[in-house]
Symmetry: none
Subunit: 208 residues, 4 copies
Amino acid sequence: MKGGGKMKRNAKETEKKILEAAIGIFSKKGFSAATTSEIAKAAGVAEGTIFKYYPKKKDLLHTAMKEAIHLFVASMAVDSLKKVIKEKKEAPIEELLKAVIVDRINFLENQGPLIKVIFYEMQFHEDLRELFLEKLSENITQIVPQILQERKEKGEIKNIDSMVAIRSFIGMILAMIFQRQFIPQINKIEPMEEIDLIVDIFLNGIKR
Amino acid sequence: MKGGGKMKRNAKETEKKILEAAIGIFSKKGFSAATTSEIAKAAGVAEGTIFKYYPKKKDLLHTAMKEAIHLFVASMAVDSLKKVIKEKKEAPIEELLKAVIVDRINFLENQGPLIKVIFYEMQFHEDLRELFLEKLSENITQIVPQILQERKEKGEIKNIDSMVAIRSFIGMILAMIFQRQFIPQINKIEPMEEIDLIVDIFLNGIKR
Amino acid sequence: MKGGGKMKRNAKETEKKILEAAIGIFSKKGFSAATTSEIAKAAGVAEGTIFKYYPKKKDLLHTAMKEAIHLFVASMAVDSLKKVIKEKKEAPIEELLKAVIVDRINFLENQGPLIKVIFYEMQFHEDLRELFLEKLSENITQIVPQILQERKEKGEIKNIDSMVAIRSFIGMILAMIFQRQFIPQINKIEPMEEIDLIVDIFLNGIKR
Amino acid sequence: MKGGGKMKRNAKETEKKILEAAIGIFSKKGFSAATTSEIAKAAGVAEGTIFKYYPKKKDLLHTAMKEAIHLFVASMAVDSLKKVIKEKKEAPIEELLKAVIVDRINFLENQGPLIKVIFYEMQFHEDLRELFLEKLSENITQIVPQILQERKEKGEIKNIDSMVAIRSFIGMILAMIFQRQFIPQINKIEPMEEIDLIVDIFLNGIKR
DNA sequence: TATGAATGAGTGTTCATTCAT
DNA sequence: CATGAATGAACACTCATTCAT
């Protein structure tokens, strides 16, 4: 009846619960349609508590976005990919690309909601858009060319614009993921078979 | 004390103005963040007028979506593409594909906002999602395979799954459009050059 | 498409249709909950037409009320009752009272909706209340005492306050009508039998 | 930019204030004509606060009705009357009836607004009507016959249908109350005198 | 005279935000 | 620190009323 806390006292944990609940709701309904009361319920805190940590609703979005950007850009473009690339440095390029695809599919399956929020809200919030794209382009221009550079030098692949090549590859994969997610009924072949096929098309496409 | 009639009287036109304003606002801010007062202002009508034509705000979205679906699915997948394909039937496949890309870029430039609305809101509204995907998968499964069939028979290209090939091609194009829209600064080559390159990669990828 | 009338042109008739539709709707939902659009539809006219005849919605109510008051007060308290009383002047008083009851039940069955509107809206609109009660009290004080005066003089009934007696009788009848309308299931005896019983109670009650 | 909490915190009290304000306004203007903004002002709360307790305006009516029904049916038909009847069990029947009338007048004077709401809105809302009448008829059929039964057995009064007798008595009283409320100017005798007269009429009417 | 498209003040309702406890 | 009752600006939506045709 009196005001005051009941649950465990762990500010960091509470903050995290709120942020995670917010990401969940944002990804289900979008930022505008999500309500703070809903988020509070999902986080298991009182509505007022949210505002101790995030004075404005938009702060929730910003924090989520910053985390997402870090995850998406740093993790996606850098860490994870770098790892794959390094591990497979000596492997045939087919194997490298397949590993990349599988890695990306896993990434999207785990970080899907967050990614969704990024892409949805980026459209509407100039500040977020800039933040995201700045980070992204920074990393992309650094990392992407390296991936194919070595192979080009070895003469395995054509001397084409690396960005275009990589981006095309990404487009193929995303199109596959998107289609398998939303219109799975039109598929006639198995996922692994499909991955092979995509890699095959891509490699034939760019090889000398 | 209450309002009265003033402006021109043309129901059909008013309805259209409202719908167009709505699509514009929806695509700028998303459905939830858009307000009817804002839409009214953009349409140049009183707020109450909107509700004569669209009793619920969601009706605006639904109507926009139905129109969008018709445009996107029927027009995109069928009419326009069919035309391109027929016109270029005897042309080399490179030319066909380039024509398709240019046609799609034009389409997206003109119908961009509408398309954006579709993809945003589809995520959140089950009913819209079903409506869209049903139409889309219907058409895709009919049209897409025809595009490559002939070339396969002539032995120009590999005997691979047409859906995967086409989808990969679409993915490449969309990735290009998306990147050029949002991170244009990382581009090093000219659009037409890029189109040539994409077609080249794709054709090499699938040719026998 | 162009503005302009289609139907018969008969102002008086149109006006009447509107008023009747209004009374119907008012009695179904009350004045406030009734909408002019609903009334227009029920009257078979365009919404704007209503305001040619009744510039304000309240005018509809006022006109209905005036008609109702005329009907209810003049007709109920005066004409109809007078007629019954005159016809049965020489009849035994039991017969007179039964005739009155039957007459009143008929009246209410025919004029029910209008009566309902009177009693409902009277509560909220001071002006209507005054109009109604003024008329009513005028007539009641003139008519009511005459009904029993003669019988009193003949020594058939006690020399009690006529108003109280008559009002009690009216109360008995209205209670019967109300109960039969809303809780008919609790009745054990037939209507005519019940009328006999009420008259019997009343007459025994007032007889010397 | 948006509001904040200020006043005392007592949910139960706030809820009650709102309900009472609502009953007051409903009884003054009817449900439809009452506005939530008006109710909020009368209750001394912000408009939004109302909806924390009663998510829909109609919920206010329903809650008021349920309370009213309980009060009216349970209290009126059962508790209060039972008490009177028990207290006066050995008293002459005249005294019993007078006590009943006085008790009822007091009841209506105190609960008037609530009762008014019941009778108004019952006409328009099927659900309320059913709720009310169900409760009412349940109780009436249980309580009413008991009132006269004993007297019948003692041979003091005729062996007539108890329901009709009681209802007639209620009708007489309500007619008195109604008339005294709305057309007080036509009265020539004092209230207590009038009560005596009504009881006299009724008793003579039903005595053997 | 009748129409019905258009109006806009006003209604019920929502929700981010505040603050006494 | 956390609560949740309270707030009020803003929203979707209604409806009596006006007026060009």
